[in-house]
Symmetry: C2
Subunit: 280 residues, 2 copies
């Protein structure tokens, strides 16, 4: 496994790769969710490139940029073990040199859900991913459904800006007790960690209602809200039942809907989601 730390190195090593390249952009502190993306890339592409970069422009000043967990040595061991060919490790000076002033923005899809509470977040995500795409030039890029809105926003960006890249969105990976994997889970106290399982439990309960025929989004949201409110350590920021394409709230579910939420456990903000699909 090779590593690149300069633009010259990534360009050179990329040029030497013949055949298809799969790309997994990450912010490091890797877990089994990231590794599932690597495995998806490994199984469909001749080469796999992973980037590790904690992107400052997607954090608000009030957010956890400085505290964001980092463990490069462990990350590299995991990636080597997963069969990655090249790890791209840019730093802030390479990504945002003096005079940097160009932004990629997706308009409508970034407004609801996470965008309500993190207004600059997606501009940082789309800009850094556009940069990474131009540096790595993959045929396929792999993202997790865990960040459902991010996946929708990036798919829109790729479509609108005509990146010659196939986007592959991979399923959420969960702990045995169904907490969705996240680098931020490391922030949780043992009690918060246990309480966090209420997110997936509430999503699964809403899915059960849906499978029994409930199509009113208010009923599904009420079910989730009640369960989460019964957990004393949980503080709801939002719970949503939205159209998976437009991300706009729906009243009545037609064929499918995205259930999603952001909930605080102490200072730690967790998100989770589940896609409801009517089986014809």
């Amino acid at each position: 496994m090779k590593t690149a730390k300069t633009i010259q190195e990534i360009r050179q090593l990329r040029t030497e790769m013949k055949g298809s390249v799969g790309f997994v952009p990450t912010m490091g502190f890797l877990h089994a969710g990231h590794i599932s993306l690597v495995q998806a890339a490994r199984s469909t592409c001749e080469h796999v490139i992973v980037s590790i970069f904690v992107n400052p422009t997607q954090f608000a000043p009030t957010e956890d940029l400085a505290a964001y967990p980092r463990d490069l040595e462990h990350d590299l061991a995991l990636l080597k073990n997963a069969g990655v060919d090249l790890v791209w490790l840019p730093d802030n000076e390479i990504m945002y040199p003096e005079g940097f002033q160009t932004w990629v923005s997706v308009e409508n899809l970034t407004k609801p859900l996470e965008g309500q509470y993190r207004p600059e977040h997606f501009r940082g995500v789309t800009t850094v991913v556009a940069k990474l795409f131009n540096m790595v030039q993959p045929q396929r890029a792999f993202f997790g459904q865990k960040d459902a809105q991010q996946a929708a926003v990036l798919q829109r960006m790729v479509l609108d800006l005509n990146f010659p890249i196939e986007m592959v969105i991979c399923p959420i990976v969960r702990e045995p007790d169904n907490l969705a994997l996240s680098s931020r889970n490391t922030y949780l106290t043992p009690a918060e960690r246990k309480a966090g399982t209420v997110l997936s439990r509430s999503l699964f309960a809403a899915r059960d209602l849906f499978l029994k025929g409930e199509r009113r989004s208010a009923a599904l949201i009420a079910c989730m809200r009640e369960m989460i409110q019964n957990e004393p350590l949980a503080k709801i920021q939002y719970i949503s039942c939205a159209d998976p394409l437009s991300l706009q709230e729906v009243d009545t579910i037609e064929k499918q809907a995205l259930l999603s939420m952001a909930v605080y456990f102490g200072k730690t903000r967790l998100i989770d989601n589940l896609l409801l699909k009517q089986v014809d």
Copy 2:
């Protein structure tokens, strides 16, 4: 010479090109300025692709989108004669499909000069060029110094977003009487056409002052302003003496400066510019 009218066609024809590709994006109604870009591409690249697309998102509602001159048959004959390999002819539905919502914006460089009077213009330019770059995937792209601010903005975009593309900015091509070539010159009445030569005359007069040692931008601007004001058909929008990198106005010229202007002749808005460089 081939033409492509769908995404599938441009992708397929691009894939078949081995070796370096030079790209000249245009809005059509081609003149010798455009052909000089093609020749520069021809002389340094194995293949040359030209796009023709009158990009609606870089025109304000008050501007001349509908009236913008078009002559595809003549354009194709010129390009074939110039040795172009492939002409990319997308339409509005291909470039801006329903739901389009992603924009590329350059911040500081788009504020002064043209940006003062055309506030949305450069966002349209950078977005369409980013799209065309991703469709055509050239090694080199060729733009004219005639649109000096556009060249600066696009170079910044390429740098900031890490497009793997070398930007080549080619000199202004002028008529025998030194009017800068522009597709919009076709709007001019014979009297306006004659009056339009005051732009280059004023730039050259300012350059003469500079070569004689004048370094105060106010003196150079006063010289240009007086000459243009003496032309009854000319109505000045702005005259600028700016740093060529930041595009910010300068008081005293150090090593170099960009003189530029926008002037109306009747309803036709012409721009011209000249780069002053101190000879050491």
